[in-house]
Point group: none
Chain length 211, copies 2
């Protein structure tokens, strides 16, 4: 029996839209034809067109505004990463994996922020720690949220936030109080190389396989 490919309609629609964008040289912000137009032009049902568009929207390739239309968007993988990560996180993470991965990200963020953080911002970090209104776990989140923002790496921020959200559902993870103070101290004394050691010192536990 000849196994014809038999691609689904929405795949074809996807391809057509792609070609349309290329042919008309559409740029982010430009408007796509309406769903009804596309369905008519491509000789497909509107529902099939929508399946393709919805998938594109979920990936962040387009944005839709009710009553206005569908617009090409400036693609960034962050949205996709966020979506996929949410599945990855729920499906296979053990507590240990999660804690260790989170630690790794926090450590690297601390190092990346090193060269980008100034005295004024170090003061902000101190203020976070001094805020007695917050619980320890809240301080941890606020502290590292600030640090991660300094890395100027939106992708890193997104991944960490997801893991933070997820881990909070299972357990509150934070370091000893002195840890944060010492990290600030390293920022002040410009001791980049000690950051790695600081993390190792405060987190060597059963989760870390290294000997």
């Amino acid at each position: 029996m000849p196994t014809s490919p038999k691609r689904k309609v929405y795949h074809g629609v996807l391809q057509e839209i792609r070609e349309f964008i290329e042919k008309n040289n559409l740029l982010p912000g430009d408007k796509l034809p309406s769903e009804r137009d596309l369905a008519d032009t491509l000789q497909a049902g509107r529902s099939s067109v929508r399946e393709a568009l919805r998938a594109m929207e979920l990936l962040g390739l387009i944005v839709t505004k009710q009553g206005e239309g569908t617009f090409l968007s400036n693609y960034r993988p962050y949205q996709t990463v966020e979506l996929l990560s949410s599945f990855i996180l729920q499906e296979n993470s053990t507590k240990n994996d999660l804690m260790l991965t989170k630690k790794v990200l926090e450590k690297e963020a601390a190092k990346l922020a090193f060269s980008r953080i100034n005295e004024e911002e170090v003061k902000d970090l101190k203020l976070i720690l001094a805020n007695s209104e917050w619980k320890q776990s809240e301080k941890h989140v606020a502290f590292f949220t600030y640090v991660f923002e300094r890395t100027e790496n939106l992708l890193l921020v997104k991944i960490w936030q997801l893991m933070e959200d997820f881990s909070r559902a299972m357990i509150n993870i934070y370091y000893k109080d002195s840890f944060y103070r010492e990290l600030i101290q390293l920022y002040i004394t410009r001791s980049y190389l000690s950051i790695e050691a600081l993390f190792e010192h405060y987190t060597t536990s059963e989760t870390d396989g290294r000997k």
Copy 2:
């Protein structure tokens, strides 16, 4: 005027499916409820359910077989990558975020694998490098896939794979040939502390993503 969030139905369906998977502890290969069942259970139209499923399919999270059903898949985002690569506008900021995040993960994996890797496995790494059938970029993937498996941290593996797939859609990233050799050497000589320096040395300034 109260601006209600007004999330679209297919977003809700997506979340419900995610929760269903978690609650029932579904594993790759397991069957999801039929589209009609889902529509009925979630009180949504079948077309809305399909929009969510189609998006998941495009992401490679599920596979659908006509006449049989919808099944949870072992996440392999190749299809996504292929699709996205034709839409992606290569933004430098995005690329930099990706490359840096990937590097961080690879470095930490290399360190985590340190204590878990034995002589036999070091030999395997050498074999990967020696395989002349592969392109450099393929060697990179094979090499680090092996390293990541040694970390015994499934979450780390998944996140790295995600980064790897995305970066591959934009640009092939790998290190100089000598980098891999030197890393192996560090495994042999048990020089844990030099791993960090090795990565810093080979990845300072611009990243080399040559073909």
